[in-house]
């Protein structure tokens, strides 16, 4: 350990050391050497601390307990919040004796103690001088800063944290099944919010509403839903993807944690959330109306939100509240004034309020205490029974959230539900745990909520949703049995098994890549490469010897795994990729695995599979699919967009013949030949082998023929499958 004198020299330089040495009656020529000798022994340093006045030693103990440097301004605030007055007169003897130091240990240049005093202590870092740690003992006990309220307080709002988490669970579950759409300003569609509202439990203790909210987006409904969505995003339950809110990949992580881990996370998320704003909320409540769409209220902007700037101010208010040592009910107005005056400089610079004055700062502080923190169950609101002044107190769960010693515990959930033969489940929230509510949200649907009871129902749909999320009949039955106060009826067990049988018949892989081994590649090597790129074996499916399906999350891995095979990509969000080749006049080859599946889908309906990837076109199927009137024309359109080997007019005429609908021509005179349809006339006009015979095209289907060549022309036409009448 270095000698304290070295630290003092590094911070202050020689000049200040002489003054510090003088305080210790060391009037020698080299104050550094003298101080080094003087401070070397721990007993000397302990004696220096022991001779300090009690209040100064207590302050030193407090500074030591903080364990790091703080700026003078913040240290003074922390000392005040600890319940004690005075600052300069306490820190001054410590600095002058070198027991504490003012300045930055990492600074490149020394800054004399005299300069520190000239510039003001509040601007400088203050910390215990290395070597003096642990000598002052414990700091004095924390004292209440605010005057205790003495008259009785009536509780007006206590939101239980389990209900907050139930609401977050309901929001997540809703978003999981129905993506919430966003308007241009990032605010959610009102129709989606209204659909979500019935799932939300909102219970002001003495509210005058019934169990359900008549207009789910009346101002308090809007406020609560926006807050819940915003907090869900901050917790990583929900995220913005494009113009939708979707559940995040981490959406279940929070619900699997223990209460002691979850509650501080919830407080942190409420503090960090960027969409719901206390300032906006005050405006909504003031106006008594939810905001208009299109003004950014409750908007999930890609680059933050209206409340992004409030994360810092919220943190400062909550930190001050944490340090005020509030044991019971406190007066909201007095606390607001105290915190506002303590944090005035910072809040004045940061808060986006116009006009900025003391009232605006106090308004924000009050809204953090009476809107934000009650929203997560950290603060209970009340009012004085004598004069009605607003009161608040930090709940036991709130203390756990804020890192204050707390007696809060989460119930185990045992005996919290009753499962009836009608497949309805009654859940008593006083006994419930979040794990129970989470399980129920996976496989049961909510049919009614009230302050203390939630009614669920098991249905084929709800249970199969649960199966889709990894539950099975056995695990659901075990879960119900574990939490039920009565034996679970056998009928429920049978139904769960029945639904599972139905559910297990079909698995849908929602989105991904189908990889097909083609050409000379070894299918086994291709499949192994693809499967190797997938971490979870359930996320890939070997369909047959050459086809492997992989979920979309692994697309990049699949691309990398197949680099050596130079894979071709057919994107089903893009245009159709021509991939058929001719085998014979009425036979097409659709290379297995390399054919666009949209083409293959149509081909399978108009042709009969033979072998070697070949399909024979069947005019009956063609007419059945495309209609008798223009079956052939539709087939031609389909083939033109599907043939990788092209579709020449010669092929078209051959195909017509092969399908029993040959093109027909008539020799009108020895120099004029006509086709019976204009389409066939076009085909003839495009065939290069016929051009030497044609002088000119007389109309859509008539041609003047070079004198003396009509017989040769008819021969060529016959080879192409055209029937010619003379």
């Amino acid at each position: 350990m270095s000698n304290p004198a070295e630290e003092l020299l590094k911070i202050y330089g020689q000049a200040s050391l002489a003054k510090i040495a003088a305080v210790h009656d060391l009037p020698g020529l080299d104050p550094f050497l003298e101080l080094t000798d003087h401070l070397a022994a721990k007993t000397t340093r302990q004696k220096m601390v022991d001779t300090l006045p009690d209040d100064v030693r207590g302050f030193l103990g407090f500074l030591d307990e903080i364990g790091r440097r703080l700026r003078g301004e913040r240290l003074k605030k922390r000392w005040f919040l600890h319940g004690y007055d005075g600052f300069e007169e306490l820190v001054d003897p410590l600095l002058k004796q070198g027991i504490a130091l003012a300045g930055n240990l990492g600074a490149r240049e020394a800054l004399s103690l005299e300069t520190v005093y000239e510039q003001g202590l509040m601007q400088h870092w203050i910390q215990v001088t290395p070597g003096f740690e642990g000598l002052a003992g414990n700091p004095p006990p924390a004292r209440e800063v605010l005057e205790k309220v003495v008259d009785p307080t009536e509780s007006t709002l206590l939101r239980r944290v389990l209900l907050v988490e139930l609401n977050l669970l309901s929001v997540t579950r809703f978003v999981e099944r129905n993506a919430v759409r966003l308007n241009r300003d990032g605010s959610p569609h009102r129709t989606d919010l209204k659909a979500m509202a019935p799932l939300i439990v909102e219970r002001p203790k003495h509210g005058d509403r019934g169990e359900t909210i008549v207009d789910p987006l009346a101002v308090d409904g809007w406020d609560l839903i926006t807050f819940l969505l915003s907090t869900a995003v901050a917790l990583g339950l929900v995220e913005r993807r494009g113009d939708l809110l979707r559940t995040a990949n981490t959406c279940n992580d929070y619900f699997g944690k223990s209460a002691t881990d979850r509650w501080p996370l919830l407080e942190r998320a409420a503090e960090q959330q960027r969409t719901w704003s206390e300032i906006d909320a005050m405006g909504w409540f003031g106006a008594g109306e939810p905001p208009l769409t299109g003004q950014g209220h409750g908007g999930f902007a890609p680059d933050g939100g209206r409340a992004a700037i409030l994360t810092g101010p919220r943190g400062s208010v909550i930190a001050a509240l944490r340090r005020l040592n509030l044991e019971d009910w406190f007066d909201v107005e007095e606390t607001t004034r105290t915190i506002a005056s303590l944090e005035q400089t910072y809040l004045r610079n940061v808060l986006p309020v116009v006009p900025m004055d003391d009232k605006a700062i106090e308004g924000f502080v009050a809204s953090v205490i009476s809107l934000l923190l009650p929203h997560i169950g950290a603060v209970e609101l009340g009012k004085s029974q004598s004069n009605g002044t607003p009161r608040a107190r930090i709940t036991e769960v709130g203390k756990a959230m804020l890192g204050i010693p707390s007696t809060a515990e989460e119930p185990s959930g045992k005996g919290a539900i009753l499962v009836e033969p009608t497949f309805e489940i009654t859940c008593f929230l006083d006994l419930a745990s979040l794990q129970l509510l989470y399980d129920l949200s996976r496989f049961a649907e909510v049919i009614k909520t009230s302050e203390r009871v939630v009614r669920y129902r098991l249905t084929g749909e709800s249970v199969q949703w649960g199966y889709a999320k990894g539950y099975n009949a056995d695990s659901i039955f075990k879960s119900l049995t574990r939490y039920s106060s009565q034996p679970v009826p056998p009928a429920v067990k049978f139904a769960l098994q029945d639904w599972e049988r139905l559910h297990r018949r079909v698995t849908v892989f929602l989105h991904g890549d189908l990889v097909a081994a083609t050409g000379k590649a070894d299918p086994e090597v291709v499949q192994s490469g693809v499967i190797f790129a997938v971490e979870n074996r359930d996320h890939a499916d070997r369909i047959d010897a050459i086809h492997t399906f992989v979920l979309g999350a692994y697309s990049e891995g699949v691309d990398r795994a197949l680099t050596a095979f130079k894979p071709r990509v057919i994107d089903y969000n893009g245009p159709i990729v021509p991939s058929l080749v001719w085998a014979e006049a009425d036979r097409l080859r659709a290379p297995n695995g390399a054919t666009d599946l949209r083409i293959l889908s149509t081909l399978q309906s108009v042709a009969t599979y033979e072998d070697d990837d070949q399909y024979r076109l069947d005019i009956k199927k063609v007419n059945a699919v495309f209609g008798d009137d223009d079956g052939y024309a539709s087939l031609i359109d389909f083939l033109r967009s599907s043939m990788a080997s092209g579709f020449t007019p010669e092929r078209e005429l051959h195909l017509k013949k092969a399908l029993g609908q040959p093109a027909k021509a008539k020799v009108e005179t020895m120099e004029v030949l006509t086709l019976l349809s204009a389409e066939d006339g076009d085909r003839v006009a495009r065939i290069s082998d016929l051009q030497p015979f044609i002088v000119t095209r007389l109309g859509p289907s008539a041609f003047r023929v070079v004198p003396g060549t009509i017989a040769k022309m008819v021969t060529v036409l016959t080879k192409l499958g055209v029937q010619t009448a003379k």
Binding site: A468, V506, H547, L551, A564, Q604
Partner: protein, 97 residues
């Protein structure tokens, strides 16, 4: 110019943005293909138990299953390329609060 597959096929083809419906038996496959065949989608059966469709049709397919009271096991994230109802219409209808 349209993309085409050349005659010189590469070692592998990736059919991107598709969905696969895997059935437990060939009989279930026949039943399932009949159910969703009525939707008139591009679908291809591969092997004895699998149906492949473009992933953008999945909402229609799940809707059909739901109509029939069946809720299959779902794996992966759906491809949300579009929203059923136009967003702009919602904005204009609620512009005045």
């Amino acid at each position: 110019m349209r993309p085409t597959l050349s005659k010189q096929t590469s070692g592998a083809v990736i059919h991107r943005n598709v969905a696969v419906i895997a059935c437990d038996t060939a009989a279930t496959l026949a039943e399932t293909s009949k159910k969703i065949g009525e939707l008139g989608l591009d679908l291809v059966m591969i092997g004895d138990r699998h149906i492949v469709i473009p992933a953008r049709f999945i909402p229609m397919v799940l809707g059909r299953f739901k109509e029939l009271g069946q809720f299959p096991r779902l794996l992966g994230e759906p491809l949300f390329d579009h929203v059923d109802e136009p967003v702009e219409a919602e904005i204009s209808s609620t512009e005045n609060g």
